[in-house]
């Protein structure tokens, strides 16, 4: 079960059973059945596209409330770099970090700081050259999950480093334990999340056997309180510990540009574009690339669905802020520490396969083609599946009936009426 933990859920009360989400879902993971949307857990990658598109706000992310702070004796906020793009007139990181302390956190640890260490480690791994080229970033958990279910040939290309959020939590917790003398359980690392995929990554991490992130609060939920705290503050401490490279991770291309050591990289954002690039990588169409950065959200993490500001405005704001900071404030000394490396392998989840045995798959495939031939090919979504092909597949999997097709039913009804000589309209 662990492998299909999710952070996107449906509010049945609000769902109207329309087809917006099923048409938008990049992995065809949603069906409307009995008038309500259902998420197919094994296919969902938590990209958040359904949350973005749902006109009734029935799709939600399962995040923690701010009150989670009360569960710990000592709490550390982990703000991601995209958070800096949410507010106007933010000249430097310090004010926002100070406001987090004002809100009740005992400490802050910028995810951008950990990102600079990940950049450094990536640079070294690229130099060592023992990962298949091009190396694919593992920072966006929606992309990693997508590779797991759909691109098995690319698993060996994925960067085996923990994401900056996880590293930030690990370092922050160690720091706090040393400083306070408290036991690990008494310290809470709370991530301020821009998207549902990163929430899932903390609950069911990929590549690591455990996560040190103890909670995830949506940026949109913390936004008003954080703004109020910022307005109140008169004096700020020097709290910022990340430079231009770390802040750059907020947008698409930032991670790749932060490598500095190579120009041979590609950065794609927006889930449809990501899928296209992965298809091409699978066919070895870009043999000379060193590094590939992929972000499920358009614009990169600034485009995360749990945020407030328009992604492109957020990007512009962060860009302005980056002018005043040094290139990088964090470097690894010595070799890559083990806490940065994955301790479990990424494995293929063959969720697309039509059955358990090859003979079952072949038989179902043939039956599926037969059914598809009977369907109208309009891909209207009225049956609750995103396309006619998806309905045919659902039928052979035993999850739908061909009579769910409203067009087919109507045709049949008209044929019956004609046979009865009642086809003349009123």
């Amino acid at each position: 079960m662990e492998q299909f933990t999710h952070s996107v859920m449906l509010d049945k009360q609000l769902c109207m059973g329309c087809i917006n989400c099923i048409k938008r879902c990049p992995t065809e993971a949603i069906r409307v059945r009995d008038g309500k949307a259902h998420i197919l857990k094994e296919r969902c990658i938590d990209c958040g596209e359904c949350i973005r598109i749902c006109p009734h706000h029935a799709k939600k992310a399962i995040t923690d409330p701010i009150s989670i702070l009360q569960n710990f004796e000592y709490t550390i906020a982990l703000p991601p770099p995209s958070l800096y793009g949410q507010y106007n007139n933010l000249e430097e990181q310090d004010l926002l970090l100070e406001a987090l302390l004002d809100m009740g956190f005992h400490g802050v640890f910028e995810v951008a700081k950990a990102a600079e260490l990940v950049s450094d480690a990536t640079r070294r791994l690229l130099q060592m050259g023992n990962i298949k080229r091009p190396v694919i970033s593992s920072a966006c958990p929606a992309v990693t999950k997508l590779i797991r279910v759909r691109f098995p040939q690319l698993i060996d290309h994925v960067l085996p480093l923990v994401a900056p959020i996880e590293l930030a939590a690990r370092l922050a917790k160690k720091d706090a334990m040393r400083k306070t003398g408290l036991a690990k359980e008494k310290i809470g690392c709370i991530f301020l999340t821009p998207c549902p995929a990163k929430v899932t990554a903390t609950r069911a991490p990929v590549g690591s056997s455990h996560s040190e992130v103890d909670g995830a609060v949506a940026i949109k939920d913390i936004y008003p309180q954080l703004l109020a705290s910022m307005k109140k503050i008169t004096q700020v401490d020097y709290l910022a510990s990340a430079g231009r490279i770390g802040l750059g991770w907020a947008e698409s291309g930032g991670e790749a540009a932060g490598l500095v050591s190579t120009d041979s990289y590609l950065a794609a954002d927006g889930i449809e574009n990501v899928i296209r690039v992965l298809e091409d990588l699978e066919d070895e169409k870009y043999p000379d690339l060193e590094f590939v950065e992929l972000n499920a959200c358009a614009g990169g993490c600034v485009g995360g669905v749990l945020q407030v500001e328009n992604p492109y405005i957020a990007k512009a704001k962060i860009k302005r802020m980056r002018r005043y900071v040094p290139v990088s404030k964090n470097h690894l000394s010595g070799s890559i520490p083990h806490e940065m490396l994955w301790d479990t392998d990424l494995t293929y989840e063959p969720v697309l396969e039509l059955g358990r045995t090859r003979s079952e798959r072949f038989a179902r495939y043939s039956r599926m083609e037969e059914i598809l031939g009977q369907l109208p090919g309009l891909d209207c979504g009225s049956c609750g599946a995103p396309t006619c092909a998806a309905l045919a597949e659902d039928v052979v999997r035993g999850q739908a009936n061909i009579n769910d097709c409203t067009v087919l039913m109507r045709r049949r009804m008209e044929a019956v009426l004609r046979a009865l000589g009642k086809d003349e309209g009123p």
Binding site: E282, E284, P350, R358
Partner: protein, 141 residues
Amino acid sequence: MPDCIYLHYTVPGDDFTRAGEASADLKLRLKKLGIPPEAVRKVSIALYEGEINLAIHAHGGEIDVQITDDAVCMTLSDQGPGIADIPLAMSEGYSTAPDEVRSLGFGAGMGLPNMKKYSDEFDIQSTVGVGTTIKMAVHVD
């Protein structure tokens, strides 16, 4: 269980935006059929190269695919200009692609060599002025 699954694709000539559609479509079907990832990769690369060749050199052509329990067999046939010197055409880096095609990043002379490299069985028959037929098979263990 059906012994064999048949698929047919038509590759239009000189339309590079559509070359690759057949291999992408076949790739997804093979994944649904649970063909091992390594075999899917070989099929996909070999067929993509074939599609590009059909588009660039042959003004289009036909692809027939047979998927059985132990192999994916692909037959690419066209009524293009044909190949006069097959061993030369099969050598790496040799290309007769026109400049405008090369400027698009194609025509590196790796098409046929890659098709041979990624398939477990490869056969090419060609007659100048008549056309070319290529048969490729990738074994499924």
